[in-house]
Symmetry: C2
Subunit: 321 residues, 2 copies
């Protein structure tokens, strides 16, 4: 099949997944040299880009194409969630070896399309190229009224530190699928509504999404904000039976909770004296837990851990380069 | 070097190239979860994405990192030029094996930065990931007043067909560098000003950039517009001594002129009775040549070629998939 008819089939597959649902924002969609999108009056445009590479971020042995396509758009959208921004549209640059079967390419497209429909983030353009391994680079565009977005750099000493959902979930799911030789079905959550709700909270501080692990991403937020933090280890939200599940899968529970990546929950700070976790959970539509507070003193202090130890910024988290 | 400090160094290298020149459009640049850009009041946002993959679009043996970085942004910007749209900013998703040397990564970034400065298209975000081969996926954003953009689909029977510059230049340069075992220095032209000038012309028709070759891209434009064309082969603009240069490099001159890709010139149509090529050249700031006209009858007729033959849509150009 030629390049151009393959592009057409991939675009149609994504559209059947819902990617091209009628959106008043799309002036020109796929099929021209570029897409044209209309922003709500006076809004700024927000852009972020993310890539999934075969052999690094996914393996065909353990993931089906639809799941990979879903994940590619979900992780890109997580950056818009962390900015508290509404999606406008996305593009997909697909690189694939000639050995990639048509059904796999269409599966990837359907996965992207399914998430595009759910997030109201239509696929408006893309690129297809040959490469030795498959990769999906997704760029998401969003829109926000001027100044109405979250940032990493606006935490202040005294802020409470909160997370959505539960941590270590993605690492457990991955280890479980590897152990049992089953397909990985776990997908990152979509926290767009929670991020948007955060922009409307009085006393909002900083926000980041948890892609590299709690300690690494908290480190990024603190570095950008010029502050330190204490993290109350026993407060970190975990699912029931977390430690036992970790042990069964030979994962270190503390490291898995604090440093494993890919959870894509939101980590954010709020000025003191605002809403409590219960009211926050209602406003954000997802469980919210306070896990510490921002300090004037640089560095991270882990309080209530097995030994109560401090870690330097360089020891934090997981770097995959 | 860790991922995060590498990202910092790459961002700084691109900035030294000029990528982060103060732009009033950049509200939030690199370093947060997403970038925030301000559009001129009432403008739409335009987006396009393009990728260069090692072994497919470039080889380290024949291209230095700076040239590859320049090319990556130039080919993406070519899509904005074809829409007649002013650039706003760009993102770079870099995938690289651990064997990629720091100097190569910084060279790529400096190349992107140099073009970003020239095109006033600051690098506002990106992504860095490990992969088995190097690839650069660039997404460019532009802005345009509502309706003030060019499209592939607006050619009409009777329109004149024009191209900027000269064709076959990229193919000659590539063959020349391979023949002589020299580095490839040729870079795609930047036709942003020409595209922008086209949007202001009365009687403008359709436009596309020449990435896949004259016949293939004219085919795309005609398909989108639901029309056919006759191309006056002897009118296709070539540099002096083109046929001899092709023969020295064992390229078929006709095929090189009509079907070789990567020239990134603009192909556009204009309603009849408008400006002639000389006045057009002045308005667009680049040589403009009429090479045919749009016909009601589907298909492409090559007039004045060696035998004067017609080609069907399926036989056109070069598909790299």
């Amino acid at each position: 099949m030629g390049e151009f008819s393959l592009i057409e089939r991939i675009t149609r597959a994504a559209a059947r997944g819902g990617a091209a649902q009628a959106s008043p924002a799309v002036v020109v969609g796929t099929g021209d040299d570029a897409a044209v999108l209309r922003l709500p009056r006076g809004h700024d445009v927000v852009v972020s880009t993310d890539a999934l590479v075969e052999g690094v971020h996914f393996r065909w042995l353990t993931q089906n194409p639809r799941t990979v396509g879903q994940r590619a758009l979900l992780v890109a959208l997580s950056d818009l969630a962390a900015m508290g921004v509404r999606p406008l549209g996305c593009t997909l640059a697909l690189a694939a070896p000639s050995s990639l079967e048509l059904s796999q390419a269409l599966g990837l497209a359907r996965g992207v399309g399914a998430v595009a429909a759910r997030a109201r983030c239509p696929l408006v353009g893309g690129n297809l190229t040959r490469a030795r391994v498959t990769s999906l680079t997704v760029t998401v565009l969003g829109s926000a009224p001027p100044g109405r977005f979250l940032s990493r750099s606006t935490a202040r000493a005294g802020d409470g530190i909160f997370v959505t959902g539960e941590l270590g979930v993605a690492a457990l799911a991955l280890a479980g699928s590897e152990r049992r030789g089953r397909r990985l079905r776990h997908l990152p959550p979509l926290r767009l509504a929670a991020g948007l709700a955060l922009t409307r909270l009085p006393g909002r501080g900083a926000c980041i999404d948890l892609s590299d692990g709690l300690l690494a991403d908290l480190g990024h937020l603190l570095q950008a904000s010029g502050a330190g933090a204490e993290v109350w280890v026993p407060s970190v939200p975990l699912r029931p039976g977390f430690a036992q599940a970790c042990k069964r899968l030979r994962l270190a529970p503390l490291r898995t909770a604090l440093a494993a990546g890919e959870d894509y929950e939101l980590l954010f700070t709020l000025r003191p004296g605002g809403l409590g976790p219960r009211a926050l959970s209602r406003r954000l539509g997802v469980r919210v837990t306070q896990i510490g507070r921002v300090t004037r003193r640089a560095g991270l202090h882990l309080a209530g851990g097995p030994k109560g130890f401090s870690v330097g910024a360089s020891a934090l988290g997981f770097e995959h380069f």
